[in-house]
């Protein structure tokens, strides 16, 4: 069976299982067949992509063209295969997870749940199409298909106004992004006269100005999809609104399509991008990382928080890619390769742990019926498996060794260091990137200590949290799988690719030492005894859950440090009776700087124009005739 046939079979499996789910009467069976089919197809795709990845040479498959003026083809090279593997891996995990998770929509009897498998499978298929497209038009078709299907999934709970709003913001953002991509590609088309990516790569662009313009538009387009600062505003709206498996898929891989586009554009399509391109990209990555993680720290909504972390991780990936391009331009191919590898590896890693975290968040959400972490707590007791998996994901995303988040950042750091050793402008860029990466890492650490601490540790803050239990196998198994992969990918690469086997020795030493110490502790406790008692309350003996440290208080010191850029709005209301304080209300809110400072004012300005235009349509025929007269006169004056 040749690759084209195999690709066809995979696509067909997605489509048929999705369509079948629409017609099956039993919701349970519909879920199993729809998502199960998706999982099978993803599994097949994953195996195929991995096998092919080891074999090497790129694959070209001609496609029937959607429009007659261009030939359409799939072009699957190493980069595509890597992204395909990521898509299929996360697709597999989240499909299995969805079988369990989507059960909660069964009881509603609204029949919308049956559309979910089809949309889900279509989304996966479209993403696969995006990364395998060999020409601009197939790319765009896949891209827009991906945007649309994911839009429908975001508004899946369309009865909620919040979901509709999120979907709208998402769709508009992604549409503007598509506009940017169109412009970028068309500028290349103008120079090369062809729609095929091959042609782009082989004909040099006329001048740096056009290149810069094309690159700027590409950044707008792909950056919007990726959630790059300052085009990230859709992301924290859309990801929380979607059902959790969809969030996992969107945060895990869909935003990576933007990364794919940038890599494809910068390293394959533009002939020799100047240093500045990479520097700009890395700079934007740095800003995404820092702002993403700061906003995440300020969040109490679990899924929104994770969404902001996607912004942060996209920033990290962009730092890697941008620095790689800068190194390439400055003539340091070695560090460039390391950085690119690190960035791409982080794509995979982020896909894994973000998928894991969203799945965990979904399980928590289902158990506690809230997304507000201030109402959770102590879930480790009732949901130990979810808790362990979530902890693994948190360690990974905080780049704590020996998990995979560290592995990719390690590669990036090495590349940055080796590139910076050469000195010059490049060193300034790379050292800034390094410092930023370190700061981002530290901030992400704060955030995940906060999340794990408030959600899983301590005492429950609500009744629902104290009664929470682990979900069924369909949801636990993919989480366990993802957690295992997070740990494995933190160790294996050092053995295989990066040749830093010293790291593995350290990990082994670490495990052995901790193991020894834990056993020492256990033996000692058996001898000396262990007493369980109340938490020490500074002499106060009736500690209540309300006295626990909250997530907001936890985040406060660091937010205070960054208050200059975050601009929190606080509201304080006191009610006094005489000199006694009866009641104190204190509220603080951190809004998105760009959402409130740029996009909303722009929108209001636009609305003012619109209302002005509306006033021109008064309904008076005299005025309307006057418009015609005025037009004629103006034209006669101007266009003789």
């Amino acid at each position: 069976m040749g690759p084209p046939v195999f690709a066809f079979v995979i696509a067909l499996t997605y489509l048929i299982s999705g369509a079948a789910a629409l017609w099956i009467r039993s919701p349970r069976l519909s879920r199993i067949i729809g998502f199960g089919g998706g999982a099978v197809a993803s599994g097949m795709g994953l195996v195929a992509a991995l096998v092919r990845l080891l074999q090497g040479e790129p694959l070209r498959i001609a496609l029937p063209a959607p429009v007659p003026w261009v030939a359409s083809e799939l072009y699957v090279d190493g980069l595509s295969l890597f992204f395909l593997a990521v898509i299929f891996l996360v697709g597999f995990l989240s499909s299995v997870y969805a079988i369990g998770y989507m059960r909660k929509y069964d009881d509603e009897g609204r029949h919308r749940e049956k559309t979910a498998p089809l949309l889900f499978n279509l989304l996966l298929l479209c993403m696969a199409a995006v990364v395998s497209a060999g020409d601009m038009l197939s790319f765009l078709l896949g891209w827009e298909g991906m945007s649309l299907t994911s839009y429908f999934l975001v508004v899946f709970e369309h009865e909620r106004a919040e979901s509709r709003r999120a979907g709208l913001i998402y769709l508009i953002a992604t549409h503007i992004g598509t506009g940017g991509i169109l412009l970028a590609f068309l500028l290349l088309v103008q120079s090369t006269g062809s729609f095929s990516f091959h042609a782009f790569a082989h004909v040099p662009l006329p001048d740096v100005g056009t290149q810069a313009l094309a690159f700027g538009f590409a950044l707008l387009g792909f950056g919007t999809k990726a959630g790059m600062f300052p085009f990230h505003i859709w992301l924290p709206h859309a990801h929380p609104a979607a059902p959790s498996p969809v969030s996992a898929l969107m945060s895990g891989v869909m935003i990576k399509m933007g990364i794919y586009g940038i890599v494809r554009f910068l390293f394959y399509l533009l002939p020799a991008p100047p240093l500045a391109f990479g520097a700009v990209l890395a700079g934007l990555g740095l800003l995404s990382g820092i702002f993403g993680v700061l906003y995440a720290i300020a969040q109490h909504d679990l899924k929104r928080l994770l969404a902001f972390h996607s912004v942060e991780n996209i920033g990290i990936i962009l730092i890697g890619i941008g620095s790689a391009s800068a190194c390439e331009a400055a003539g340091f191919p070695g560090p460039s390769r390391l950085l690119l590898a690190g960035g791409l590896f982080h794509v995979l890693n982020h896909a894994l742990f973000k998928c894991l975290l969203f799945m965990g968040a979904g399980a928590v959400l289902q158990a506690t019926h809230t997304r507000n972490i201030e109402r959770m707590g102590g879930l480790m007791r009732g949901m130990p498996l979810t808790g362990i998996a979530f902890l693994a994901g948190s360690l990974a995303i905080s780049a704590v060794p020996p998990f995979n988040g560290f592995a990719s950042e390690f590669a990036m750091y090495r590349g940055l260091w080796e590139g910076a050793a050469g000195g010059g402008t490049l060193a300034a860029i790379l050292i800034t990137a390094m410092a930023g990466l370190a700061l981002i890492g530290g901030l992400a650490f704060i955030c995940f200590v906060k999340v794990v601490g408030t959600v899983f540790l301590g005492t429950p803050r609500s009744a629902a949290s104290s009664g929470a239990r682990d979900p069924g196998h369909a949801m636990i198994l993919p989480m366990a799988g993802a957690a295992f992969l997070c740990a494995a990918l933190g160790v294996v690469p050092f053995l295989y690719r990066f040749r830093d086997s010293g790291n593995v020795t350290v990990f082994a030493a670490l495990f052995v030492t901790i193991g020894i110490l834990a056993s020492v502790r256990a033996v000692s406790l058996r001898r000396n005894g262990k007493r369980v008692y109340e938490t020490w309350g500074c002499g106060f003996s009736y500690a209540t859950p309300r006295m626990q440290y909250t997530a907001s208080s936890f985040a406060d010191p660091i937010l205070h440090v960054f208050r200059g850029v975050l601009r929190p709005r606080t509201k304080k209301e006191e009610r006094l009776s005489g000199r006694f304080l009866l009641d104190l209300e204190y509220e603080t809110h951190i809004g998105d700087l760009f959402e409130n400072g740029l996009y909303l004012p722009l929108y209001r300005l636009f609305l003012r124009f619109a209302f002005f235009a509306r006033r021109l349509h008064t309904g008076y025929i005299h005025l309307y005739l006057g418009y015609i007269l005025g037009t004629i006169v103006l034209l006669l004056i101007l266009f003789r």
Binding site: R381, V400, L439, Y533, W536, A543
Partner: protein, 300 residues
């Protein structure tokens, strides 16, 4: 032989360093102070005790002490103390990031008990650590450029011996590292290890609910980490001390550690505790120092 001795040497020197600091501080405030052996006695006692454990705590709490101490031991294995070779050669990035593993468990353990103090300490600790991260990273990165190696032992060993005062970048980096040492090891002016008021605590607040062997492990780990930092800085300032003959090496190491203990003691006595909100500026200063050091390095 030397390699096998390194970790035991660290374990021995760690309480010694804490004792030296206490002694120095006592001396400067005209007190007698506890004898040097007191720290050893305290630790020994703690290790022999059972524990009182909070009802709300989970396995994360139980695991925290071994993880914290274990990681510190591993870090000690990677930091040259008396020779260029170390039992565990480690990349400097891994070295820095490995420090976050015990911190993760320590802060989580602080939150795990459901106590307000634990959360308070964890929150502050995490904030300080995040702000210290760039400074630490940049300074080690600079050391790497000087020593032309990415491995910790390699970079320290690779620094060409010479007149230290002719190398401003080295001094700047050592200064940065010292500021980071103060911050990361809960010393004045960032934190006060001797405070008894919970509301002002950082590190101590997190470990309020640890007792017995757990507390012992954590205290040993803290002392170990301080020693590791001291070894790092002194190794940087006295590169020659790493290539001494074995007979001299151990006393020299003890001397180095004692010296840094004295300096820390003097600094702690001479400074007041900073307001929490100022810590960020303190650490940003450190970062800027590191950046200047790098700039100086590349300006050559």
């Amino acid at each position: 032989m030397e390699l096998a001795l390194q970790i035991p040497a660290y374990l021995v020197l760690a309480p010694f360093l804490v004792g030296i600091i206490r002694k120095a501080k006592a001396f400067l405030s005209c007190r007698q102070g506890p004898p040097l052996r007191q720290t050893y006695i305290d630790l020994f006692k703690l290790f022999r005790r059972g524990i009182v454990r909070s009802r709300t705590a989970s396995w994360v709490f139980d695991l925290s002490a071994p993880v914290i101490l274990g990681t510190s031991v591993v870090l000690a294995g990677a930091t040259p103390l008396f020779s260029r070779a170390v039992p565990l050669p480690m990349h400097f990035i891994l070295y820095i990031y490995l420090m976050s593993l015990p911190r993760f468990f320590q802060t989580l353990a602080g939150l795990d008990t459901g106590s307000a103090f634990g959360g308070l300490g964890s929150s502050r600790e995490a904030t300080v650590a995040a702000m210290a991260e760039p400074a630490l990273l940049l300074s080690l990165c600079g050391v790497g450029f000087l020593g032309k190696s990415q491995l910790l032992d390699g970079m320290l060993g690779g620094i060409p011996p010479g007149r230290i005062f002719l190398r401003p970048e080295l001094i700047l980096i050592a200064g940065t590292l010292f500021l980071v040492l103060l911050a990361e090891n809960s010393r004045i002016p960032v934190d006060d290890p001797a405070t008894h008021l919970e509301l002002t605590m950082i590190h101590e607040a997190m470990v309020l609910d640890h007792s017995g062997i757990d507390l012992g492990m954590i205290q040993l780990a803290a002392a170990l980490r301080l020693t590791v930092f001291s070894a790092l800085i002194t190794g940087l300032l006295f590169p020659g001390s790493l290539s001494l003959p074995p007979v001299l090496a151990l006393p020299a190491a003890a001397l180095k550690i004692a010296l840094s203990g004295l300096v820390v003691g003097v600094v702690e006595s001479g400074m007041a505790r900073m307001r929490l909100s100022r810590i960020a500026s303190f650490l940003m200063t450190a970062t800027v120092l590191a950046v200047i050091a790098l700039a100086v390095r590349f300006a050559r």
